[in-house]
């Protein structure tokens, strides 16, 4: 068989033991919080039917979906049907004949497909979380991969704002457990819709949200310029500026003050959407204060690109690091309409796991024990010695200590190197002398301290990390 140069597809990654452990620490922490809040796990297949995915992510998205070649097509010379299918493609018609399946592009559409397929059996409100990889044929670059995990929680079939409160509380709880200091930015799409109505540009809501969405990148002046280019008058721009209070000093107002400011504003009476959005915001803010969730911050300039959001929108900013949002979500009116099950509203959040990982690395937030696999290495110093050692190995394993015995009877320093490279904190050594005396030597490989104890009591020793 021809030898192959071992390599990885562009934009994909192998995860070594240390990275897997750190990633699992993040996944498990978030999973535990999801479960505390009564969210249940769901897993969907990596492949979906092509027509389930196509047309859901815009033209750009369609291009970035990884499509799977139908089986047998790579032996076209043997298959008349395949030949015809390829000719259809060449004729610039459809690709149905050569690809009918594709890789999951996000977790939302498969979730919608699942709910639509099972709506008869599910009990609503349906609360699910899903932590799985997705695939996108994006151009790879720093921090952008073609395979990456998404980590979502959604409640569908309920309009209650209590769901928003729960999700804000999940964000607060998960990031507290991870040790990341975050700001939970909150806004409501109805407020932005209302503002568009108030400045008498109800049909330009997209232009407005797209512009203010860029505020972080291009700054307030940049947003104003973009609005000018979009044909907004100076009057309307300054009105927008007033309402969304871009100005820094206004943003600094505490939530309660912002709410009363908004409710007492002359515009409050001018738009039902505006009023409703502010009332929803107030309900959530009050609940969060009752729950002592201190890091929620109203930010009317928060827009979230996605147009399917219709109510509350949320975004997570990690404080003290240069990093885009590490989470976001919001309320939507119709999850499953596309799959023939209309009027199913919901609200969901997502955790940006790759960025959370980078933040935790930068701030050194991973606990020490997450980075240790094997706790104890037993040296292998001869047939009789290793037999004695092996019984102790099994004893420790039975009491939950992760340990291994070096399988070969190799030189001392080779076995030390192995322990060192694997970051194993303790070595247990049974040589000829220890064997005779029924002892073993425990060496702390970090501090260098060592002590000799009777083999009989090794099981009682602690091997703390």
């Amino acid at each position: 068989m021809a030898k192959v140069k071992a390599g990885l597809p562009q934009g994909t990654r192998d995860f070594s033991a240390e990275v897997v452990r750190k990633r699992n620490y993040i996944f498990n922490t978030i999973r535990n919080v999801f479960e505390l809040y009564g969210f249940q796990p769901l897993e969907t297949p990596a492949m979906e039917n092509l027509d389930t995915l196509m047309g859901k992510y815009g033209d750009e998205g369609d291009k970035l979906i990884f499509k799977i070649l139908n089986n047998g097509l790579d032996r076209v010379e043997k298959h008349q049907k395949a030949r015809e299918d390829f000719e259809t493609v060449l004729a610039g018609k459809n690709v149905d004949g050569i690809t009918e399946r594709a890789l999951r592009y996000d977790l939302t559409i498969p979730f919608a497909r699942y709910v639509a397929m099972n709506s008869g059996q599910l009990s609503f409100p349906f609360k699910r979380y899903q932590i799985q990889p997705v695939w996108r044929a994006d151009r790879p670059q720093k921090g952008r991969y073609r395979e990456f995990y998404q980590c979502d929680a959604d409640v569908v079939g309920s309009n209650s704002l209590l769901n928003e409160v729960e999700l804000v509380s999940i964000y607060a709880g998960a990031f507290e457990r991870l040790g990341i200091d975050v700001t939970i930015k909150i806004n409501n799409r109805k407020i932005l819709t209302g503002i568009a109505e108030i400045i008498e540009e109800p049909n330009k809501i997209i232009e407005i949200t797209t512009a203010i969405d860029k505020c972080d990148k291009i700054g307030i002046q940049g947003v104003k310029d973009e609005l000018r280019n979009k044909g907004f008058t100076e009057e309307k721009i300054s009105k927008l500026n007033d309402l969304i209070f871009f100005e820094a000093d206004r943003i600094l107002l505490i939530n309660a003050t912002q709410i009363s400011f908004l409710k007492n504003g002359t515009e409050y009476s001018k738009s039902k959407n505006y009023q409703q959005g502010i009332e929803e915001l107030e309900y959530i803010i009050n609940y969060c204060e009752a729950l002592n969730i201190a890091n929620v911050k109203i930010d009317l300039s928060l827009a979230r690109g996605l147009n399917y959001y219709t109510g509350t929108i949320l975004e997570i900013k990690a404080n003290g690091v240069q990093m885009g949002s590490i989470g976001g979500g919001g309320r939507y009116d119709d999850l499953t309409g596309l799959f023939g099950v209309p009027n199913l509203p919901g609200v969901g959040i997502s955790f940006g796991v790759d960025r959370i990982y980078d933040v935790m690395e930068e701030l050194k937030l991973f606990p020490e024990d997450v980075q240790v696999g094997t706790q104890v290495l037993f040296f292998n110093l001869g047939e009789a010695e290793s037999k004695a050692a092996y019984n102790l190995v099994q004893q420790l394993r039975n009491s939950g200590v992760r340990c291994e015995i070096y399988p070969e009877q190799s030189k001392f320093d080779k076995q030390f190197k192995y322990a060192d490279k694997k970051n194993i904190p303790y070595a247990v050594i049974i040589g000829t002398k220890e064997l005779e005396e029924g002892n073993c030597t425990i060496k702390n490989l970090k501090s260098g301290e060592q002590q000799t104890v009777a083999q009989a009591i090794l099981g009682e020793m602690k091997f703390d990390i």
Copy 2:
């Protein structure tokens, strides 16, 4: 946008909450045992370069590999290059132009690719485990899926038989924890090679192993018939029968007796391979007896199809259920030669998770608590009532109880139905009366018992499953 009938690709599955929890119970149990033995996790991408996978699994395997369509080809009319690539395919030449990546077909080749890529950095012996899905374009049928998980552990870079002992011990420990009574069948490829030499058919080892591999399915007579068709003489067949002792009474011999029987047989001197295989078997058997691993059983008729096995071979049979092997593995001489890193021997085992799941369902081995998500549902019976309830919800969550509050103020029985459908064991009810009195009513939804306690002490209550 056109509405789509929600459906799943053939041979793929959604996993609902209950199934995910049961599967994770299996994965976590096995993972914990792997870690106790010092194996470290590895994760590789779902996609590999096509040339990494092609030619590794035989012609049949190549056909079953899911290939990914290169990006942009579905817009062939816009891409001259794509047009040419398709024309190459149509000419019956190669498919390189239209597909360069494929989905992982097993975990062994990606592991080999990883070791070859990183052999400079890794510390050997390298012990890794890997639990990830693989994809095969097989015809779907009962128990055979196009997406399924594999669960492997391998040690590479060591010839020590202690590794075999460790892996046998991992099998014994993992299945004991899962509560599955298994027989760990063990044999050695060298014994079979030796037997082929002894009957003077050294080049027919494949025919012999393929035939005896079918013993479970077609029985001893069937195997003999197949050997006849393959041109073996009656004399050689009866010799084979003697050596491999197909006959039931011989199979019943205890391991030690089998070993001495083998060592004292007149054939022992006739083949180095035969001798070496028996000695290796003896070493492992003796160790297992010292460790009180009682369910290991020598079975010389165990062959394991795969021809890359060169030493010990293992297979797991679940006792008391009709089910093929639920695990298997063995020793191989050369993991990474195909990727330009020669002479790296290893030994590995695999757990058949889907079959293990079916066995545990059939024998009802999943613990009760694995099947419960949310422990407590708080009813929502009004604005003031739910506010009071919500504080208690957060208290319980802080002490680790998984609970939720029904988000809507719905009818009593609707909230009961929700708890029932979600299999939630406890309900906490705060109505007008409880609110006034500062109490809450705890109802055990299985037994029907209920008690009223002060809200202040709810946090001290146990909500055992």
